[in-house]
């Protein structure tokens, strides 16, 4: 057929479709049930069987190459970008080389477990049990780690104080240098590797990296061939044929050349991302500052006359693809990280290296497109600082008002100094981005093991209470000193445990492709796991600060200030989980008569801040096996439920096994009653700059406060105050009809929900049912 052209003399493949096609593609993504795909595991294992005796990094590279060469590929109807990790959408893929056991223990429950179910076909189950499991049993990374775990680490795990993560999957929580790969193209890196090999022929890292880069090139070829075949198969000349022909040509170009258009840049970005997924099968190979590194391509394409509609169409395709990759987690892990957060996190805006606020038309387009698609990935965040232009701030507020919790906000005024305090250069610190859920990293330069361990501060407090129970004459100072000493004890252990996992990855799971795109691995010939990155952190999450704040304050007031009961009597009540009517009376007293974190009580908040500071500074005394720092975090994501299960009754009135405060730094549910300004003030007392690894604040907002232009204006002003208060992160839960219905059912969780009407003072939970019903009926139409 003849190539037709569209208006403006644009090539025909840039012709856009109707508005509904993204909707159709979105629906197709979710049509089938999620399934487990063993394809990667099979190909990986078959390759391993053929490379016995070779160095691990070479074996890993060959296995990744085998996947790239042989995994079944597809181009789905209407797709503009190629690259599907699995043919069937949203399949979970396994890495038995990391941990073959957990899937075995869930083999018959994974299709109906409470969170994040996957189908597992009978044939695959048999293959797994008869081939994969026997092959990897005793030879996986998990086995290595388990053998290395020392008795003290084991004891700390048994004490339920520490949890080690990333023992069952590969490298994630990392951002590759997308700016470099887009600037230079694949060919440049292959060339660099060839030169390095000539200079240092004994270096296995370079050899391994080249094996994977060449396989990525061939992977592009495979897509080019497939696109060409599909184009030929179109029986009549059609736009689809034109599109497929261009996709084939583009894949042939990108096998070596650098991208020049926005379309090519997105294509290369996505396939590089998929290749890293095959190599690692990991959580959170995040996307970094997409609006920054893609902007030059956006400008070029716009200057050439590419339409906004076409840009939106391919970017929309990209957005959908980030929802295709779901993470298969164990039931335990799924409890902590529910809803398969794959971590295609994006940071928009923020300081550039000149210290100016960097926002451009693409930043706006990315928020607009989110509004149109509203899927959880890419998980957008906005970097806020004192210089944020009002227009972009308003746009951010309007997007938040949609009520989906996206975008999250990250505060440059906290994150940048945080990184500076850890030896990151000013240029690099200003270039930070979000990785995983709420962790921050320096893109393209960091191997940060951001999610390596959880450290349950509230559980340590519980153990401290138990240890002091029979000590005569306990004072508040003694309690506090013992708590700090126990924190020190477990910090030493958690750093040791993290290092064991770190070593496990070095020994079993080098990632040469990923590493090549992390500075300075290519320069110094080392994998990230061997310490090749410029920045080498390990992130340890301190858990339960809000409950700890409430508990410490209540103990001090009840026992040491008011002398209402003895320390021992209190601990006995806790041991009995507030049993009986006396116990329940005490619990109510503890809940209602002592102030709580989230209500801007400086004395209470600062005491908790001191404990957190102690924890962060103690971590700072240790170095990990790559020579990098241990950074404190303060987030739980959804782990506040399972981690709460590990802790007995506490003096904040929390019963044994009840959840902890959600998110990380949010007040305990139902315990704040002075509204969002008071919550921010409490959170700001904890020095957020010390939470270099990440923190999380969920803030509930009633929709009536966000109504209209005035609502947006006041919300934006609120966020400027948030910025000045130097709180690191916030995300918003806009109280919908559903939340209000829940408040009717569980008023104890919504003590702080205020009805905001001029000249009127009351809480939602104090209204009678009829009036509540009326507010609920209006809730949906408030914005």
């Amino acid at each position: 057929m003849t190539t037709s052209t569209t208006t403006n003399d644009r090539p025909a493949f840039e012709t856009t479709r109707t508005n509904t096609h993204l909707e159709t593609m979105k629906a197709n993504l979710f049509r089938q049930k999620r399934q487990i795909s063993l394809e990667r595991a099979k190909l990986y294992t078959q390759s391993y069987q053929q490379t016995i005796g070779e160095p691990t990094i070479i074996r890993r590279a060959k296995a990744t190459a085998a996947i790239l060469d042989h995994v079944a590929i597809s181009i789905r109807p209407d797709e503009r970008l190629v690259g599907n990790r699995t043919i069937r959408p949203r399949s979970g893929i396994l890495s038995p080389e990391m941990d073959p056991y957990w899937i075995m223990s869930e083999i018959d429950t994974i299709d109906h477990r409470p969170q994040d179910q996957f189908e597992f076909t009978p044939e695959d189950k048999i293959y797994y049990q008869e081939v994969l499991l026997p092959y990897w049993s005793g030879h996986s990374m998990k086995d290595f780690i388990n053998a290395q775990i020392t008795p003290d680490v084991q004891q700390a795990q048994k004490d339920l104080v520490i949890k080690l993560n990333q023992t069952d999957k590969g490298q994630g929580h990392i951002i590759m240098d997308f700016e470099q790969i887009l600037q230079h193209g694949l060919g440049y890196f292959k060339q660099q590797l060839t030169e390095k090999i000539a200079q240092q022929p004994m270096n296995d890292f370079f050899k391994a990296a080249k094996i994977v880069f060449e396989a990525v090139t061939r992977h592009f070829d495979r897509y080019a061939d497939l696109a060409a075949r599909l184009a030929q198969a179109e029986t009549t000349p059609s736009y689809r044929q034109i599109e497929l022909t261009e996709m084939a040509a583009m894949c042939r170009r990108l096998r070596t050349a650098k991208p020049t258009t926005f379309y090519e840049a997105l294509q290369l970005l996505w396939l590089v991302s998929i290749a890293a997924q095959y190599e690692s099968n990991a959580s959170s190979l995040s996307l970094g500052r997409m609006d920054q590194y893609l902007y030059p391509f956006y400008q070029t394409s716009k200057a050439q006359g590419t339409s906004d509609e076409f840009i939106r169409e391919i970017l929309g395709d990209f957005y959908l693809k980030t929802n295709d990759v779901v993470l298969l987690r164990s039931a335990e892990s799924a409890k902590c990280f529910a809803g398969f957060p794959t971590g295609y996190t994006v940071a928009l805006g923020g300081y550039d290296k000149y210290g100016q606020y960097a926002v451009n038309p693409l930043s706006y387009e990315m928020l607009d497109l989110y509004e149109a698609i509203q899927l959880p990935q890419p998980n957008l965040s906005v970097r806020i600082n004192a210089q944020i232009p009002r227009r972009f701030l308003n746009k951010t507020c309007e997007t938040i008002r949609l009520g989906t919790g996206i975008p999250m906000l990250f505060n440059d005024e906290v994150c940048v100094p945080g990184f500076l305090s850890k030896g990151v250069t000013l240029d690099d610190a200003r270039d930070y981005a979000v990785v995983g859920c709420v962790e921050t990293t320096i893109p393209g330069k960091t191997y940060g093991l951001h999610d390596i361990a959880l450290f349950n501060l509230l559980r340590i407090f519980e153990l401290t209470l138990a240890a002091l129970k029979d000590v005569p004459e306990v004072t508040y100072d003694l309690l506090r000193q013992t708590l700090l000493a126990n924190i020190d004890h477990y910090v030493a252990i958690v750093t040791k445990g993290s290092d064991i996992v770190d070593l496990g990855h070095r020994t079993f799971a080098p990632t040469p492709f990923l590493s090549t795109l992390i500075s300075d691995c290519l320069a110094n010939g080392q994998d990230v796991t061997a310490g090749g990155a410029r920045y080498n952190f390990s992130g340890i999450q301190g858990i339960g600060e809000p409950n700890l704040a409430d508990a410490l304050y209540a103990v001090n007031q009840l026992v040491f200030v008011n002398h209402e009961m003895t320390f021992k009597a209190l601990v006995q009540q806790l041991d009995h989980n507030f049993a009986g009517s006396d116990g329940e009376a005490l619990r109510q007293h503890l809940i209602h008569d002592f102030d709580k974190y989230g209500n801007d009580n400086a004395e209470l908040d600062l005491e908790c801040a001191k404990i957190f500071r102690h924890f962060a500074l103690e971590l700072d005394k240790y170095k990990n096996i790559r020579g990098g720092a241990f950074n404190a975090g303060a987030y739980t994501v959804s782990a506040h439920i399972p981690l709460g299960h590990d802790v007995g009754a506490t003096p904040d009135g929390r019963k044994a096994h009840d959840q902890l405060a959600d998110g990380g730094l949010s007040p305990m549910v139902g315990r704040d009653h002075l509204g969002p300004t008071a919550v921010l003030k409490s959170v700001s007392k904890i020095d957020n700059t010390l939470a270099v690894n990440g923190s999380l604040l969920n803030l509930k907002f009633s929709p009536d406060t966000l109504k209209g232009d005035a609502g947006i204006r006041k919300f934006a002003d609120f966020l400027l105050a948030f910025t000045q208060l130097k709180i690191r992160h916030v995300q918003f839960n806009i109280q919908s009809k559903a939340t209000l219905l829940d408040a009717q059912k569980h008023p104890e969780n919504y003590a702080g929900l205020v009805v905001r009407v001029a000249g009127y003072s009351a809480f939602f939970v104090d209204l009678n049912k009829q009036i509540q019903d009326d507010i609920i009926a209006r809730a949906e139409h408030r914005l």
Binding site: K714, D717, V754, A758, S761, L767
Partner: protein, 260 residues
């Protein structure tokens, strides 16, 4: 030492003046509006008792000036970014005029914007005490016909008008008249026309309309008091629009808020 009886301090108020505000609700009010949504504040300046879930609770707590300032200063950063500040509400904040004046003066000296919500139902000396320290007056106009105002809500229209005009004359103070739209009372057409005539007389071109709501109903129950408007239905949005248009037709810019 100045002391004030306060029954609530509400932070993050966004419907009580510009920006993000802290509203200080002062106890005591000379009026007895049947629709009052804060009935716990009516009457003399003294604490009252109500019953929540069968438990007696005291409403109203004495604050020193320093104590209430400490609460207000907690949200200083939010006032700065939003242009907000404090709003004295009630009750009728002019009942405790000396305390209100001292509080407003102290707050204003910190550079924090000040506002009051008032009905002006006291002799002019009361409002004159606070006006020098008040940036914004949200002035409720209710029933404008004298015998009726006295009968229904215990109001003295002469006081109201004198206070309103004093506020208008205060050169540093912005005045926004607000009309609670109560079916059968303030929202009666003849009353609205009287308000419009009066606004014309005063040369005022702007008004806020506060549609009737039932959020106070539970409070009457908690106070063990009868609530006369229990069965009164809310205004329909057509009725509200009609009232809004009535003002617009008279060249008075009307903003409906609080509910919609």
């Amino acid at each position: 030492m100045e002391r004030g009886l306060i029954f609530n301090i509400q932070r993050y108020a966004v419907h009580d003046g510009s920006g993000i505000r802290t509203v200080v609700f002062l106890q005591g009010c000379p009026l007895h509006c049947l629709w009052c949504s804060n009935p716990e504040s009516q009457g003399a300046v003294k604490p009252v008792t109500w019953y929540k879930n069968g438990q007696a609770k005291t409403v109203g707590q004495w604050y020193t000036l320093d104590a209430v300032l400490a609460e207000i200063e907690k949200d200083e950063i939010f006032y700065q970014t939003s242009g907000g500040g404090i709003t004295l509400s009630g009750g009728e904040c002019l009942v405790q005029a000396d305390f209100s004046a001292a509080l407003l003066r102290a707050v204003k000296s910190l550079g924090i914007p000040t506002a009051i919500e008032t009905t002006g139902a006291l002799p002019i000396t009361a409002i004159n005490k606070v006006l020098p320290y008040t940036d914004e007056v949200l002035f409720d106009l209710k029933i404008m016909a004298q015998p009726l105002a006295k009968q229904v809500i215990g109001d003295n229209v002469a006081f109201v008008k004198a206070s309103f005009e004093a506020a208008l004359q205060a050169s540093e103070t912005t005045v926004i008249p607000r009309i609670p739209l109560i079916p059968g009372y303030t929202a009666q057409m003849d009353n609205l026309h009287q308000i419009i005539d009066y606004l014309h007389q005063c040369g005022v071109k702007k008004v806020h309309l506060l549609p009737f709501h039932q959020y106070g109903s539970q409070k009457y129950h908690d106070l063990n008091r009868a609530y006369a408007l229990e069965k009164t239905p809310l205004l329909t949005s057509e009725a509200i629009t009609q009232i809004h248009d009535l003002f617009t037709a008279e060249n008075i810019d009307a903003v409906v808020y609080g509910l919609d």
